[in-house]
Amino acid sequence: MLETPQQGDVILSVEDVSLSFGGVKALNSVTFDIRKGEIRAIIGPNGAGKSSMLNVINGFYHPQHGTITYKGKTRSQMRPHEAASQGIARTFQNIALFKGMTTLDNIMTGRNLKMKTNMFWQALYMGPAKREEMQNREAVEHIIDFLDIQAIRKKPVGKLPYGLQKRVELGRALAAEPDLLLLDEPMAGMNSEEKEDMSRFIIDVNTEFGTTIVLIEHDMSVVMDISDRVVVLDYGKQLADGLPNEIRANQEVIDAYLGISHD
């Protein structure tokens, strides 16, 4: 059985994880942990392996080496369905919404695993299926209120501006009521006002629902402001791991970001 981690316990840890595509080492012996209730940032220059790390955690990529321990169970790889059903939700760097569907429908798909009625009732659209649909609709309306996107409920998301799409994607991830939320560059391409909004949502999700958050972000000031601990990757290797202040003062990190040659 899986444990239910308490506040501050380690909810997920990766141990010595290596991942390569052909000859390219995307991750090279990375080890860190994530504690329940914290906002954990993963930073690093382009191509550092940040997104690969998230893909390993939610099971899109299977590392060749190392282990992942989630809720007390150690394994060599996750699977996407397993990750989703055990409370890991995520957003994508290049928004992966269902473009032809409305905001409401997109967020409803996030409730997929919360809905259990069988195909028979669904096909008839009556009895338990209809009741369940209503209940989940209500949960989704709460999320829509929370993210302040009532105005675009019925709009197909493909036509929405970028910033709003990012918000809908966050909504879809939240709809699953995840224990662990993975956000891949939630503020990429946003202006400073949109960034502020998004930061506020992330902090609210963390404090109000107690959701543990793993965050990949490029904007250093945002990362330092909102995260509890930061891990730094560079060329697939782990450069540093610590509190925002420690990371800011770390010479290796500064070098990596300023591009000083390692000789």
Binding site: N58, F60, P80, H81, A84, S85, A89, R90, F92, A96, L97, F98, K99, G100, M101, D105, M108, T109, G110, R111, N112, L113, M115, T117, M119, Q122, A123, Y125, A129, E132, E133, R172, A173, A176
Partner: protein, 333 residues
């Protein structure tokens, strides 16, 4: 009204009925193409196989009787009494769902992430396999299918329309086959049911989600394999309905699987990814080919129905390759 106008109306009506039948076949293609990006060449054979199985159950045939007889030297062919039509239909649906499961388990699962052309080749293989399996199970002879739908000309409609003609003209009334009307009605009901299912249920939403973005669908815990089984099952059921309609009209025989070819121009017109497109594409082709045959046909010696649809498709490929309703093709350079 003059008899000329009435004749034209009759042609259009009959075109619409045929068109609905084309749409029904095209619908099976669109469902699978949207959800898994596979052009299922075997869809036509699915129609044939479903119809064969239905007739087999209805008449109480023993599956693989021929093989059993050859191997064991026995002489069996029927159970005796056939099954009631409703029961036979339910059993056939069960067979089509089982088939969908087998296709996912033994074909698609090994083909994930392959290029579309490879998947297409696999469905060609599937088509020939199914054709052989159908023959082996139920025999290759031509069978009649009767599920109790009324057929033949509607005399009521003939009487009504005869009154519309101007007095003094010798107009005999419009011919319309009752079976065609039933087929159109059932096809419409099926499309409405599918639309409601995909709009308002969890599984329907999951179907649309998978059609839109595989990876995002995985991230919210939708099982791709489960969805594929469901989609192929639905396509199997649509094939059964199409098989019943075409089979009742022209008998259950090998040529039934060739109606899939007529679905191709329908898909090119309607777009491979659009359900309304498949329906309207079918209607346009149905009406178009009947009207063309009626007006231009006599000038060129007739039989234009054999090629009209394909020429229309060719024109579409030249001027609007995404079809009437398909997703616009935007290539990033």
């Amino acid at each position: 009204m003059s008899p000329d106008i009435l004749n034209t109306i009759e042609v259009i009506l009959n075109g619409l009925m045929t068109g609905v039948m084309y749409s029904l076949v095209a619908l099976g293609f669109v469902l699978i193409f949207k959800a898994s990006g596979i052009f299922n060449y075997a869809q036509g054979v699915f129609c044939l196989f479903a119809a064969l199985t239905l007739v087999g159950f209805q008449t109480g045939q023993i599956p693989f009787a021929h093989v059993i007889n050859v191997v064991f030297g026995s002489n069996i062919h029927h159970w005796g009494e056939g099954l009631h039509t409703v029961l036979a239909i339910i059993l056939t649906i069960a067979v089509m769902i089982g088939l969908a499961w087998l296709v996912e388990r033994y074909l698609l699962r090994h083909m994930v992430n392959q290029a579309p052309i490879i998947l297409f080749m696999a469905t060609i293989g599937l088509a020939y396999f199914m054709e052989g399996l159908g023959d082996l199970m139920w025999g290759a002879n031509i069978k009649t299918l009767n599920v109790g739908l009324p057929s033949g000309a509607s005399f009521w409609w003939e009487d009504v329309t005869r009154e519309w003609a101007e007095p003094g003209t010798r107009y005999l009334g419009m011919y319309i086959d009752v079976l065609d009307v039933w087929a159109a009605g059932i096809a419409l009901a099926l499309v409405v049911a599918l639309t409601i299912f995909s709009q308002y249920t969890k599984t329907g939403r999951a179907l649309r989600a998978v059609a839109d973005d595989h990876q995002a669908a995985l991230s919210v815990g939708i099982s791709l394999r489960g969805i594929w089984v469901i989609v192929w099952s639905i396509a199997g059921i649509v094939a059964l309905v199409a098989g019943i309609m075409w089979g009742s009209k022209s008998g259950v025989q090998f040529s039934l699987s060739l109606i899939a070819l007529k679905a191709l121009p329908v898909l090119i017109l309607g777009g491979f990814t659009s359900i309304p497109g498949a329906i309207i594409g079918g209607l346009v082709i149905g009406v178009g080919e009947k009207l063309f045959e009626f007006s231009i046909g006599p000038l060129v010696g007739g039989a234009t129905e054999n090629w009209f649809a394909y020429v229309l498709a060719l024109l579409f490929l030249m001027f609007r390759p995404q079809g009437l309703f398909g997703d616009k093709i935007i290539e990033r350079v």
